[in-house]
Amino acid sequence: MSALMQATALVGRPVVTLAGDEIGQVKDVVYTVADGRVTGFTLAGRGLLAGPLRRALPWAGVHAVGPDAVMIRDEDVFTDRDELAERTELRDHNLIGGTVLTEGGTALGTVDDVVLDIGASADVVGYRLVTSEAIPPAGRSVLLPLPGKVAASGEALVVPESVAGLVVDDLAEFTAAVRSVRSVPEGERSCA
């Protein structure tokens, strides 16, 4: 069973061991752009004003991502924050605010959030963006299904021309949209 959620909804969620102890809260969702796979979470201490923690949570240490808490087996599952970042090219953090460009060079909007499909693994399946004039009316918040691999940097995300027509308004519509995007054979997709 898996569930769609937005990365920002995970930020601040408490990280709790099965023994019931709170370790901290989710700070950032870390993933590799190449395959869209979530590799783990960086953590902040407990409480609103707590700072970042040295230790980070690799995805392998996650027991379950629930609506109220991220459950972990015990305190032995952590890795060093830098180690997690090294295995990962980019953090979602850096993508937020980046421009979404089509292969034809049209700016569709700016990245506002990342849509994750969380089950046994956690994958990036799309982005939330604030639209430009290319998707009228401009300034609208929409969800963009991710068509497999895309090229991304801290500056921009380059997507196929065709996805502009696939944007949806909410997570309910998103599931169907992702399915239709993924049903396009690999060869018919143009690669950036």
């Binding site: 019931g20 102890d21 629930g66 609506p67 808490a69 459950m71």
Partner: protein
């Protein structure tokens, strides 16, 4: 039997017919889901009564054979007391990360001390196995 019912109940030594103290809480092993001891206040010999030393729980008193049954916490009980072991007032969380509300009471079997249900503000959770009890909350795994 519920925690709120046994709290404050008198602990009576059958051999001497003297009140030893009063129940001031239960000590639950969150991994096994059983009551391992009762906390007792007012007893000169200590503050812990092992569940195995309780000879009976009646409507008006918890019976022990001798006043010496109340002593200092040792072994697993002492270990549990060193953690955030209190259930009441904590969040009840499933192992899949859902918050079920605040624990307001614990029900347990009077014979073997097994925890049979957790009561929250919203109702009774009887279909779950205890896994842990820590600083953040009580964790249970619900039966499929």
């Amino acid at each position: 039997m519920r925690l709120t019912e046994i709290d404050g109940r008198r602990v009576m030594a059958a051999g001497t017919a003297v009140t030893v103290g009063r129940v001031a809480g239960v000590v639950i092993d969150p991994r096994q889901g059983i009551v391992v001891a009762l906390r007792v206040k007012g007893a000169p010999s200590g503050d812990t009564l092992r569940w195995a030393d309780v000879s009976g729980i009646g409507a008006d008193a918890v019976m022990v054979a001798s006043p010496d049954a109340v002593g200092e916490a040792v072994d697993r009980t002492a270990e549990i007391l060193g953690t955030k072991h209190e259930f009441v007032g904590k969040r009840l969380l499933t192992d899949t990360g859902s918050d079920l509300g605040l624990v307001i009471d614990v029900a347990f079997d009077e014979q073997d001390g097994a925890v049979t249900a957790l009561h929250t503000e919203d109702g009774r959770i009887g279909d779950a196995d205890l896994i842990g009890c820590g600083s953040y909350g009580v964790v249970v795994r619900r039966h499929a």
